[in-house]
């Protein structure tokens, strides 16, 4: 059979398949809600960086307190449990500023890591891309994170870039509801989390909270912000587990919760419900291609 005939046969076969009716508005809705979700994924990826480095440092130092540099506030990444800002690049110049700043409690060096293959980074924060190029610092604020960011941004102008990650870093799991999840479904998950012995604490983020984060994350895309309403975005729960509890076990427990759309964990995994769609498919569009 000639190839063209095969083509013809296939086309006829395809024509016999019952037609598919699409829903383009559903695609638009899904993209909007996922934009905010991937902003959270970026944070998850940052956590991976920190966590993997902690593992290495912990192994190497066998638990010893380790002051890695000459700076007075420079500590091992293993000692940092919370990050308010990321500063890139890590130079001695920058280090001097961090040491002198009254807003900095402590900081740790984050080694540059090539995460170009990290397919989770659909829409990366610039910080992640910057960290692929250069070492950076994870900085802990003394008190007010926004004062820290403001101060460092000024003090380091022209020498380094400061990324505020204070409001995003720190939960073990974030559960995103479907955008059209019902009130009852959201309440049901809230009650389940409140009663869950593995859960140490959790925060509920309303659509307005999500919108506030969204506006900040996409400040560079005013048209996108303007075309998005709080009602386009999903509610979510940020969950912190009791020490030593299994993230995977908790994720699994709620895998089939009604109204749940996506689960993001601190180890950088995302689960899209229903039908987990890992982001590994398709020709890659490099997350940091602008650089």
């Amino acid at each position: 059979m000639p190839t063209d005939e095969l083509r013809g046969e296939l086309t006829m076969l395809a024509d016999e398949v019952e037609p598919f009716t699409g829903d383009v508005q559903a695609v638009h809705r899904r993209v909007r809600s996922r934009r905010i979700i991937t902003a959270a994924l970026v944070v998850a990826a940052l956590v991976v960086v920190v966590a993997s480095t902690v593992a290495v440092a912990g192994h190497r130092d066998a638990g010893k307190v380790n002051v890695t540099g000459t700076g007075s506030k420079d500590v091992s990444l293993a000692l940092i449990t919370h990050v308010d800002a990321i500063v890139v690049p890590a130079t001695s110049d920058v280090q001097d500023v961090l040491d002198a700043s009254p807003f900095v409690a402590e900081y740790a060096r984050i080694p540059r890591a090539d995460r170009s293959s990290d397919s989770l980074l659909l829409r990366p924060k610039d910080a992640v891309c910057a960290l692929q190029q250069r070492d950076g610092y994870a900085v802990v604020a003394k008190s007010d994170p926004s004062a820290l960011t403001a101060h460092l941004t000024l003090a380091l102008a022209g020498r380094a870039t400061v990324y505020d990650v204070s409001d995003q870093y720190g939960s073990d799991i974030e559960f995103f509801m479907k955008v059209d999840a019902s009130r009852a479904q959201t309440d049901s998950l809230r009650n389940a989390l409140a009663a869950d012995g593995d859960v140490s604490s959790f925060v509920h983020l309303s659509r307005n909270d999500a919108y506030a984060i969204f506006k900040k994350d996409f400040a560079d895309q005013p048209a996108l912000v303007a075309s998005t309403k709080p009602s386009d975005l999903p509610e979510s729960f940020r969950v912190i587990l009791e020490p030593g509890r299994s993230i995977a076990a908790v994720v699994h427990r709620y895998a089939n919760a009604a109204g749940l759309d996506t689960t993001i964990t601190a180890n950088g995994e995302a689960r899209f419900h229903p039908g987990l769609m890992p982001a590994s498919s398709g020709p890659a569009v490099s997350p940091c291609s602008k650089r």
């Binding site: 059979m1 598919f20 987990l276």
Partner: protein, 164 residues
């Protein structure tokens, strides 16, 4: 294609992609989900996708990959992935069209996907290779195997070159 509007693109291709996935062995739900997700990803990077030579090719590739992921996952959960259709009627002195249908249904999933992407979606070999995560040489070989087994099933005439 820089003026291509996503909604129009979706309108033109959603049905086609869905049908292609069914031909590749998906059930209707799998086909709809994979197509919808692939278009979602296209919209997310629309500025890049719309400027490609074949925006639809990108969607076919992503959708086919998603379908394969779905199959892999369901296989892990003990359900069956795509199976050759049951009840193939081999007694037939039937029309060629039915024979192609039968022949395709008996192909292993990879060969089926390759055939659909290459000859129905009409993608270049390089895109098919992208979709299948292999080298173009492997695609050629896969298509060749598919043609061979189809020829056997079809008891048909001339070979056609897998590499057009």
């Amino acid at each position: 294609m820089s003026g291509l509007v996503f909604d129009d693109f979706y309108e033109s291709y959603f049905d086609r992609v869905g049908r292609a996935l069914v031909l590749a062995g998906a059930d209707r739900d799998q086909a709809r989900d994979a197509a919808q997700e692939a278009f979602t990803r296209a919209l997310r990077r629309w500025r890049k996708v719309r400027d490609m030579d074949r925006p639809d090719g990108w969607v076919y590739v992503v959708a086919m990959n998603l379908l394969r992921d779905t199959w892999r996952r369901t296989a892990r959960h003990g359900e069956r992935g795509p199976a050759p259709d049951d009840g193939v009627d081999n007694t037939s002195a039937v029309a060629t069209r039915l024979s192609v249908r039968e022949a395709i249904a008996t192909l292993p999933p990879r060969q089926r996907q390759a055939v659909v992407l290459r000859y129905l979606a009409d993608l270049p070999l390089a895109d098919v290779a992208d979709a299948m995560g292999c080298a173009t040489g492997t695609v050629k070989a896969t298509l060749h195997q598919a043609m061979q087994s189809m020829r056997i099933e079809l008891d048909d005439t001339e070979d056609d070159d897998a590499d057009r």
